[in-house]
């Protein structure tokens, strides 16, 4: 509608998201009054850290329209590697640098396999994840590391507070801000979106699509060092299954955020991950057994996508009138990228 000033859809989505967040918080406070206490809100933010970094890493790969399933294995491997280094007496920063280097190596393998060797992304990341997950056992024969964890200051990452908020939250926000600058406010970042949108067009626009895909996998893996660090700080040890829970949380965070804000991106991922953390915390307070948490995430994911879909109402009608629709003459085809409408003549 030209000439008419319209409210930006992003604004509507943001308001809707905040309303959903408040509604959920309200419901939880109703049933579990301890939800709205400062202590619990701090707990939510603290738990956000590990899943938040995992989702942020995955965002880069999703933006270039690829898949990555190796990261839970990579987190296990790098956590064990860092645990090995710390137990061996290395200082925390040095161990972390070691972890980052290992992650960069794994990310480079993923990136080379997918972009330069043109291997299928799903298969090669399954393979790398399997290698890394198995490799995690090599450090200590499957036993956990916890020696020197307290003395090296690792646990302070989880416990120390500044102005009443855990320092892990500042770290999370800082890294998200840098990622936002890179992905949304730099030439380098926009290239990721161009690649994901249409690799052929991107190539003709002078973008080195292979290099971009490589960087996406590299950045994703490097962030897994932070995930491992946060998980180790939270649990006070490194074990071989430490990262196995982050797959579901990361995928839900990225895709829920993308559904809420109409596309994968750094702020969207943050919003998605925060919503999930709030919901999981609430169900935890209601003492719902642990094995229902994935069900909650799954239901939230589907509901979020359906409710925030830009064409949601029409498509829901589609679903419920499926039989009648089959006889209709007009068939609506929707591509995930561009809504393409075609008229089918009977």
């Amino acid at each position: 509608m030209p000439g008419l000033k319209r409210v930006s859809p992003l604004f509507i989505r943001t308001v809707a998201y905040l309303m959903v967040l408040c509604l959920i918080a309200g419901v939880f406070t109703w049933f579990a009054p301890q939800f709205m206490t400062a202590g619990n809100l701090a707990t939510i933010l603290r738990h956000l850290a590990a899943d938040g970094f995992a989702a942020l890493g995955l965002t880069f790969v999703i933006v270039v329209a690829r898949y990555e399933v190796s990261f839970p294995g990579v987190v296990c491997f790098v956590a064990m590697a860092m645990g090995f280094l710390i137990s061996g007496g290395l200082s925390l920063p040095l161990a972390f640098i070691g972890g980052v280097l290992i992650c960069a190596g794994v990310g480079a393998i993923n990136g080379i396999a997918v972009s330069y060797l043109k291997l299928n992304d799903m298969v090669s990341t399954i393979a790398v994840g399997s290698l890394a997950g198995g490799g995690a056992f090599l450090f200590n024969g499957g036993q956990s590391f916890f020696k020197n964890f307290v003395s090296c200051g690792l646990l302070r990452l989880n416990d120390a507070k500044f102005a009443g908020i855990n320092i892990s939250v500042y770290l999370l926000i800082g890294v998200y801000f840098v990622a936002w600058l890179i992905l949304h406010r730099s030439r380098f970042g926009r290239v990721f979106y161009a690649t994901g949108e249409n690799p052929t067009s991107a190539t003709y626009s002078g973008i080195n699509v292979r290099a971009v895909t490589f960087w996406a996998y590299l950045i994703c893996s490097v962030l897994m060092a932070l995930v491992a660090l946060m998980l180790m700080a939270e649990t006070g040890m490194a074990n071989v299954h430490i990262g196995s829970g982050c797959m579901m949380a990361a995928y839900t965070g990225v895709f829920l955020g993308a559904a809420l804000f109409g596309g994968a991106g750094v702020p969207a991922t943050f919003a998605g991950t925060l919503l999930i953390a709030v919901i999981l915390n609430g169900f935890n307070l209601l003492s719902v057994p642990y094995y229902w948490s994935d069900a909650v995430l799954g239901v939230v994911l589907v509901l979020g996508i359906v409710a925030f879909h830009k064409d949601g109402v029409n498509r829901l009608k589609n679903v419920f009138k499926a039989k009648k629709k089959a006889q209709d003459r007009a068939v609506e085809i929707s591509d995930s990228d561009n809504n393409l409408r075609l008229e089918r003549v009977k």
Binding site: N120, I126, A127, G134, G135, A136, A326
Partner: protein
């Protein structure tokens, strides 16, 4: 990729390697394990291998077609887990195998219907939807047993059926083999089998041709989920227990079998014969490494390495299509 093969002979050799490479690899793997551990060719081991191939094929037969359409289904593990636990729970509580099997299959069909409607009719991404439904059904499966497994004293007549063999061939392998033949026939010879592969090439063109793709996708997702739940129920009977956790390895094994198989026979396209060969490789690998006394993590490293080397070699020496296996 390569413009011209150097000689005709080389090209034929290459074609042979690409087409039969996976079967040759399966044979070599089996011979290597049999050489290292002669127990590999004992009848009991062969029965075990055939059984695990059957179950893996049941889990992946529907997923193979879904991946062939250019979509993804990772909720099959969840369907198997729900059917597995539901059947075990019903049998444990005295409702008998008949109701257990019926409810397991209905649960599987229900998951497939949810997938099919959300993906086919609502138009959501198949990966996202099946991640969600897979997670929900996995949780429900664990919820049935309240987080623990459900052990049965005996698996009744289903247990006998699953363990029954003719020679070294288990009865269930014969059933699965027949199902595979029907599947292969409809995939290769019937019209709707062509729709599956046509869809991956150009979805819009298939719709324009007047094919009800939405309904086809719904049917595929229901088929995939029901087949996986059959596998889940068979596992309940085979192990005389319901255990949701044992399904996780089938996720990686299943996808590996499909993608490895997609590099054989119909190059670059997931297909039933390929999935059977891929399942064979994984079953031989699992049984063989069990006999060798390799631990889980060693198996995980070996599988990962094999998978990576396998696809690398096949993409290097394969045709152009191999490199673009399902840009899902």
């Amino acid at each position: 990729m390569n413009a011209q093969p150097r000689t005709e002979r080389f090209s034929l050799l290459r074609l042979f390697f690409v087409n039969q490479g996976l079967c040759i690899f399966l044979a070599l793997l089996f011979v290597a394990f049999a050489w290292a551990r002669p127990t590999m060719i004992y009848a009991s081991t062969l029965v075990t291998i055939l059984k695990s191939i059957s179950i893996l094929v049941l889990m992946t037969i529907g997923v193979t077609w879904i991946i062939a359409t250019g979509q993804l289904d990772i909720s099959f593990v969840g369907s198997a887990a729900v059917a597995n636990m539901l059947a075990a729970w019903l049998v444990l509580n005295g409702y008998g195998w008949g109701l257990g099997i019926a409810c397991g299959l209905i649960a599987g069909a229900a998951i497939g219907i949810v997938n099919g409607y959300l993906i086919g009719y609502f138009g959501l991404s198949s990966l996202i939807v099946t991640i969600a439904t897979g997670a929900v059904s996995m949780s429900v499966a664990e919820g049935i047993g309240a987080g623990a497994s459900l052990g049965m004293n005996s698996a009744g007549w289903m247990g006998e059926l699953v363990s029954a063999t003719i020679g070294v061939v288990p009865i269930i392998a014969i059933g699965v083999g027949a199902a595979c033949f029907l599947g292969w026939y409809s995939q290769e010879k019937l019209l709707w089998g062509h729709y599956i592969y046509a869809q991956e090439l150009n979805y819009v063109a298939v719709v324009e041709a007047g094919i009800n793709v939405k309904r086809l996708n719904l049917l595929l997702f229901v088929f995939s989920s029901v087949m996986a739940s059959v596998a889940g129920i068979l596992l309940t009977a085979a192990l005389s227990s319901g255990n949701a956790g044992i399904m996780w390895p089938y996720m990686v094994d299943g996808l590996t079998a499909i993608f490895l198989g997609s590099m054989a026979i119909r190059k670059g396209q997931p297909n039933i014969l390929g999935t059977i060969v891929g399942s064979g490789i994984l079953a031989v690998l699992n049984s063989g490494s069990g006999l060798m006394g390799w631990t889980d993590y060693q198996q995980s490293i070996i599988k990962g390495a094999l998978l990576l080397i396998g696809i690398f070699l096949l993409v290097r020496f394969g045709t152009e299509r191999v490199s673009e296996v399902v840009e899902a």
